[in-house]
Amino acid sequence: MISNLINRKIFTLLKVQYSNMLEYRVEIALWAISGIIPFFMLNIWTNNNLNESINISDVLLSRYFLCAFFVRQFSVVWVVFSFEEDSLMGKISPYLIQPLNPFFRYFAQHLAEQITRFPFALIIAFVFFIFNPESIWIPNLGILILSILSTFLSFLIQFLIQSILACLCFWTERASSIERLLFIPTLFLSGLLAPVVSFPAYVKSWIYLTPFPYLIDFPANLLSGNETNISRGLSMQILWIFLLFPLFKKIWSEGTKKYTAMGS
């Protein structure tokens, strides 16, 4: 019953946010195009034959970076910036006194944006295959489902991390600057610039204890058919969600006591 009600709220939120996102379709197409950094990285890797050092073929590497592009498209999060602005301008005030946590609105906004991005991402993939026909492959249904699941879990981890940082707005007015501290490790350790397997063994053992490799590297490897430990990857993703969620709840409940409803 309760889950049905929440589902109905989320579904309506999603529907409304999707309509809203369609108003910004050109902007979203540009955002999708701006996420092509993995293709630049692919170019650097293959032109310098760097893949030989980690025993990955050109084809598997190009599939990896295409999948990294896809995972990034469907897990990118910006809640800290939206929340910071809304909080500082007092825009969240009306939402705080509604029987639904305002973060559900941002959550639906992100999901709606991802749905809007999907056709643009497909077009980019299509163009990629025109230039790299040898990379065309069809993943089996099981792998496809697990990849979608792990991409969604990656999105959840990033959403929770940013939501925790966003709640710091209740104490400091510029929580997004703290998020920038995470930008560098996310960029280098998530697998966006290089597969994590390319790191030295002793660094890798540490990286796998952080949430970063489960954001892009794991779902991208899974989808592209590269060797990866599926059960460990999914378990680590779920573990991070279980660790981050109570932390978010605690910081939210403490933070709202500090809310001053500035600007309203």
Binding site: K9, T12, L13, P94, I97, L100, K257, Y259, S264
Partner: protein, 331 residues
């Protein structure tokens, strides 16, 4: 007996404010050593509000009216004291409590800017667990009351301020709350839109027996809606009681403009013992205390040859303005 729906006891609120000296020196000092001080914006206030009452909160800018409303609806946490609204501690924001209240801020909007208001209405309906049929019924009823129709299907960004405010009101009332917190609801609206909004609030209050707490700088909002006012001065309550009693206290006299048939009569009237405010030829303006109006007028009409006579109430804005700068009204 009518129940108290809001009960506030010894409520205080303090904010930490950081201060900075002007100039480069001040900026550098501020960078290394930030100085904050605690500012008490609400000071030990207590009051009750009964179910169905419409209460106006009056005060100058920064007096603390909005802060009180924000605490009553659970948006901000009180520093000291207790608040009970409909039996709930507002700050806990329990679902059942949130379903009973609404907050409308004249300068803030909850409607989705790029979509027609109807989308926001259905979204709010689902947030408040209303099924589609019920939501449709309420939207129809409220839109008729607010006299909005085609506007429901036009993107919010293309609506006029008045149409937007009506839509905001509809979005905020779709769950039929029985306690309304309205912070400057008529801000920026033209005279007709203000009047319509006031009419709507009167009807809503009458039909649903909803309690309304209202702040406004437009005195017409207060005088036409509120029988009771709470005046806030520098975070403390300076007056809590009936509005007409306050007006009588603040303005114990009426101005009477008398047009005499001859200048001679007007001179005689000038020297009769009344307090004269103004005199031009055969017109004279005098001040008479409220409790002696009838007898004074009788005397004037019996003893002087009067062509015309006007009784003027002092401007309400001027009278209420006195409240905003005075600390205490003991009535």
């Amino acid at each position: 007996m009518v129940q108290n729906i809001i009960d506030v006891r010894n409520l205080s609120k303090s904010f930490d404010i950081s201060s900075k000296e002007p100039g480069l020196k001040g900026t550098i000092k501020h960078f290394f050593r930030r100085q904050t001080k605690s500012l008490k914006v609400i000071k030990d206030i207590s009051f009750e509000i009964k179910e169905g009452e419409i209460v106006g909160f009056l005060g100058a800018n920064g007096a603390g009216k909005t802060t009180i409303l924000k605490m009553l609806c659970g948006l901000i946490y009180p520093s000291e004291g207790s608040i009970l609204v409909s039996g709930y501690l507002p700050f806990r924001r329990k679902e059942n409590f949130l379903k009973k209240i609404t907050l409308i801020m004249g300068q803030k909007q909850q409607l989705i800017w790029d979509l027609p208001p109807i989308e926001s209405f259905y979204l709010n309906a689902s947030i408040y667990d209303l099924d589609k049929f019920e939501a449709k019924k309420r939207i129809k009823k409220l839109s008729e009351m607010l006299e909005i129709d085609e506007e429901l299907f036009i993107p919010v960004r293309k609506l006029s301020l008045g149409q937007r405010m009506k839509s905001e009101l509809l979005a905020a009332l779709i769950h039929e709350p029985n306690i309304l917190f309205l912070d400057e609801p008529t801000l920026g609206l033209d005279i007709n839109a203000q009047r319509n909004l006031r009419k709507f609030l009167q009807i809503y209050n009458k039909e649903t027996n909803a309690t309304i707490c209202l702040t406004s700088h437009y005195m017409k909002d207060i005088t036409s809606l509120c029988k009771r006012v709470i005046c806030v001065h520098e975070g403390a309550i300076s007056y809590d009681g009936k509005l007409d009693l306050l007006l009588k206290k603040l303005s114990p006299v009426k101005e009477i403009l008398i047009v005499c048939r001859s200048e001679e009569d007007s001179i005689k009237l000038q020297n009769y013992g009344f307090t004269v405010k103004n005199k031009t030829k055969n017109e004279i303006t005098i001040e008479i205390e409220n409790n002696s109006i009838t007898s004074s007028l009788k005397t004037i009409l019996n003893n002087f040859d009067i062509e015309d006579l006007f009784i003027n109430e002092p401007p309400i804005d001027e009278v209420i303005g006195k409240v905003l700068i005075k600390k205490d009204y003991d009535i």
